[in-house]
Amino acid sequence: MSDNKPGFSTLAIHAGASADPATGARATPIYQTTSFVFDDVDQAAALFGLQAFGNIYTRITNPTTAVLEERIASLEGGTAGLAVASGHAAQLGVLHTLMQPGDEFIASNKLYGGSINQFNHSFKNFGWNVVWADTDDPASFEAAVTERTRAIFVESLANPGGIVTDLEAISKMAKKAGVPLIVDNTMATPYLCRPIEHGADIVVHSLTKFIGGHGNSMGGMIVDGGSFDWTASGRYPMLSEPRPEYQGIVIHETFGNFGFAIACRVLGLRDLGAALSPFNAFLILTGVETLPLRMAKHCENALAVAEWLNGHKAVEWVRYAGLKDDPYHELANKYVPKGAGAVFTFGLKGGYEAGVKAVSSVNLFSHLANIGDTRSLIIHPASTTHRQLTDEQKSAAGAGPEVVRLSIGLEDVDDIIADLDQALAG
């Protein structure tokens, strides 16, 4: 290990977590405390002025949560991380740092339905205007660029599944426009895809899914890629201008290649307040330790189920990029060569009614609105997660009436297939 960089599995277990400084405890302790005693007045002043590293209050930093932040930053190959209460809070935190009222950002039209809602409605209330582009047509991102564009947002593997984004092509458009590329890497996790290596400037996660992996904790993460120049264009005053919140500190100049993560923390999280609970950080950290093993098994099971569904008479189509004849197979070989994830969709010949029947007939599968659990999950997006969208938006997001979405778990694959078999029968 001395000369070589540690491998992914080593980082998944060790990054950020030396033994506890106070007790020597080897597992990361749960620092379930709101606040931290100061050494003296001088140290307190240095902490409040951002001059010293240390903990003040769990809304801003916490030693348990910090291990998770360093762990994920390290797995993504970024400079720093910021954990927050949910994936949506991560998206809010990133755009809060980049956008002023009246600014625009360009987003892929193939996103998790909740993100489409967040961008179309809540963010518009802040005066942050989303402009939609077509994931499959990188040129559509370039065509959407205006004077007010501040960022581009895509998912690596897009929820509800099957779509692989050409990150390098879209990163070229972002570089040309001089704006950062934000990649939601929730569905792939850094085990399958490391977007920063493909030109992403910022990575966001819902830790709620595969990274935590056990369906027990909400969480979100912002990872700073460390290479974007926040000062050159003058478009990002949160990073490049003296900040009145801290007596005139210029964040990018002071914190260099991890300035974005610091800005999201001390200007965003501090005031917006969506902090992660240290207990959730602990549970998610425990999940991360087995991320490589779990993702490999999730992908293996998902491919077997997709192949089985592909030959089923009630099934019109299966959209899983791991299948050889899938339109995204080539992109999958490039961006997610170890496996195309475990979330995908298929279409039932019987349409809306058949979809409702399938989710009502399963027994091992859980009918619920989540992905990335040890358990296999099923949902009919048109009647649930994507219900609020118009029919046009539903189809554009890959959630038409006949579509069923699966998140394949870690059970024995024969049992997973047997449950689907009985649910699709007759």
Partner: protein, 176 residues
């Protein structure tokens, strides 16, 4: 020395060994990066000495400021340069006139002058460029992780504690 990528052991040995650090270009403005670095080095027990002709004779963060390195009344182990890459050459020339010579010349994040570095190394002085001693110290002792920053350090050992509740130190003789 390859100045594109320093081994942790190189940086650690420097920060472990030096005691007196002249901070050239130190500002009394409390929000400037040089002020951050000066106060951090002082808090870690270094004898950090601000050098700034415009401020000579007045203290910054309690440390007396000198007009030039030559005016400092004690031997300097390390020179930390807060000037741009071009101006760094002049500071290096000045440092190489000191008797005794400093052991280390350190140029801050964004500051790099390979010619000046070669000159210093030829005189037996170790050089670090385009790095910040505050960030490197915090990275190697583990404190930087509290801010979610990736330290690149993997270790199952306990961090070395300094006096106080939230203060780590660099442990001497540690293997990376």
């Amino acid at each position: 020395m390859n100045h594109d990528d320093y081994p942790d052991a190189y940086i650690r040995s420097i920060l472990d060994e030096v005691k007196t650090i002249a901070v050239v270009g130190a500002s009394a403005n409390r929000v400037r990066p040089s002020y951050f670095v000066l106060t951090y080095l002082l808090s870690k027990g270094y004898d950090a000495i601000p050098v700034n002709p415009g401020r000579a004779g007045k203290p910054i963060a309690g440390a007396m400021t000198y007009a030039s390195m030559a005016d400092i009344d004690r031997p300097i182990d390390m020179v930390d340069i807060f000037r741009n890459s071009e101006a760094a050459a002049g500071v290096v020339h000045e440092a190489l006139e000191l008797d005794p010579l400093p052991k280390v010349i350190w140029m801050q994040l964004g500051v790099r002058n390979d010619e000046a570095a070669a000159l210093a190394e030829a005189a037996g002085v170790r050089v670090v460029m385009d790095r910040c001693p505050k960030i490197e110290y915090a990275r190697l002792c583990g404190e930087i992780g509290w801010a979610g920053v990736s330290s690149g350090v993997i270790s199952s050992r306990k961090p070395a504690m300094r006096e106080g509740y939230q203060r780590f130190g660099i442990a001497a003789g540690r293997r990376d």
